[in-house]
Symmetry: C2
Subunit: 243 residues, 2 copies
């Protein structure tokens, strides 16, 4: 006795039209069959056809022009919202799953930049958790997590064991909120003396510094994850539509 999931009709139409676009049957720039033709071919009501075509338009597979028709663009080069983003990775990184060593984990006064990102007073108590990440036996990056002390208290963030979950989980649970979006800041700077030693770079080296500030839906920030990477060995990559 097996149960078979049948997708809704509009989803089936989406899949078939994508297949035809991908196969070249409907090449970029060519007109799509009219709604009326698709209704006849697939035996569907117009609103069902229109729903499928609406999804394809929203995803960027086609463009529509009232009175003229719909035209093929092709598989969207950018899968909307699908890109890997540095901040997301940092927030969800499980220390137990990467080669890393804990440098420090405990309360410190918030430096000016971190205080500004967290919207708190400079020198407010925050918990700093700092690790050195290694890749292929080479020191690769230094990652620092900054959480307001009253939130981090009692969480594994202040402990010495490798984190089995990403920072996000601990902060969400401790603060009883859901993190919504990340504001990411990228800059370049020279390394501190400590960073020179840990990363094996010269004092004149150029480091990429990324600060991912995670906020809840209202915009209130709850955690900053900073990572510094030697510029000669790392490059951030991102893709987005032109308009």
């Amino acid at each position: 006795m097996s149960f078979k999931y049948t997708p809704p009709k509009y989803a089936q139409l989406i899949a078939e039209l994508e297949r035809r676009i991908e196969s070249g049957e409907y090449p970029p720039g060519s007109p799509l069959p009219s709604e009326h033709q698709l209704m006849a071919e697939f035996g569907m009501a117009r609103p069902t056809v229109v729903k499928a075509l609406g999804v394809l338009r929203d995803q960027g597979w086609i463009v529509t022009h009232q009175g003229k028709g719909r035209f093929v663009r092709g598989r969207p080069a950018i899968a909307s919202g699908q890109q890997t983003r540095m901040g997301r990775e940092l927030l969800d990184r499980k220390e137990a799953q990467v080669e890393s060593s804990l440098l420090s984990a405990g309360p410190v006064p918030a430096p000016n930049r971190i205080a500004a990102y967290l919207n708190i007073e400079p020198k407010s108590p925050v918990v700093l958790r700092k690790i050195l990440v290694t890749r292929d036996d080479e020191a690769s990056e230094i990652s620092s997590t900054w959480v307001p002390a009253d939130v981090a208290e009692g969480t594994p963030l202040t402990g010495t064991d490798d984190l089995k979950q990403g920072v996000r989980r601990y902060v969400e649970a401790a603060a009883g909120i859901q993190l919504d979006h990340i504001v990411e800041h990228v800059t370049a700077r020279n390394p501190t003396r400590e960073e020179c030693k840990l990363l094996g770079v010269k004092p004149s080296a150029a480091l990429l510094a990324v600060y991912a500030v995670a906020r809840e839906a209202t915009g209130k920030p709850w955690v900053v994850v900073e990572t510094v990477l030697p510029g000669d060995r790392h490059e951030l990559e991102d893709a987005y539509p032109i308009k």
Copy 2:
């Protein structure tokens, strides 16, 4: 005799629901009125109500749960696709509208990195257009545009006049294509001797280097716009949803 645009009914419903969410009448976490209630209150058919609610869901104002109802999230912190992106600005920048001076404009052999981004052989002929951008009478960034020579030939990119349009327009017209998306690479490096002189920084300074590669929908790249900024004076900022 005046003509007044009346938005479609579903758009009016969207606007009213957004207003109520923003005003606190429907606070975050609270249930939205059911479809049936909205139909009665606004005198609309169910598909019209559903269409409006679908847009609000897609934009992140609400979340929906079949059988349970729809719940308020609030104004999305990230307006999808609305962020300013460095690559977009670079591609559409009109030299005539910024304080800049032309450093060079002419054919050069493609350096390795640029060739890789343009998917051409190293040392292939490309046109390099390089400008120094000034802000508040201070040298701020060096921007270089790299276009395959056969595309740039005959365009204002090889000329000495300030560009009145962004690079995008010239490339699209010359190549007879439409640019679709940008793949952006960010790294940190030390300045060249020339850059030290132009930007007024020390050889040990850390520069942010941004390469925006503009591609058509098929993924074929057509132009690279590089910009280098002193790290101590610049920071890139970006925001995106966590999931």
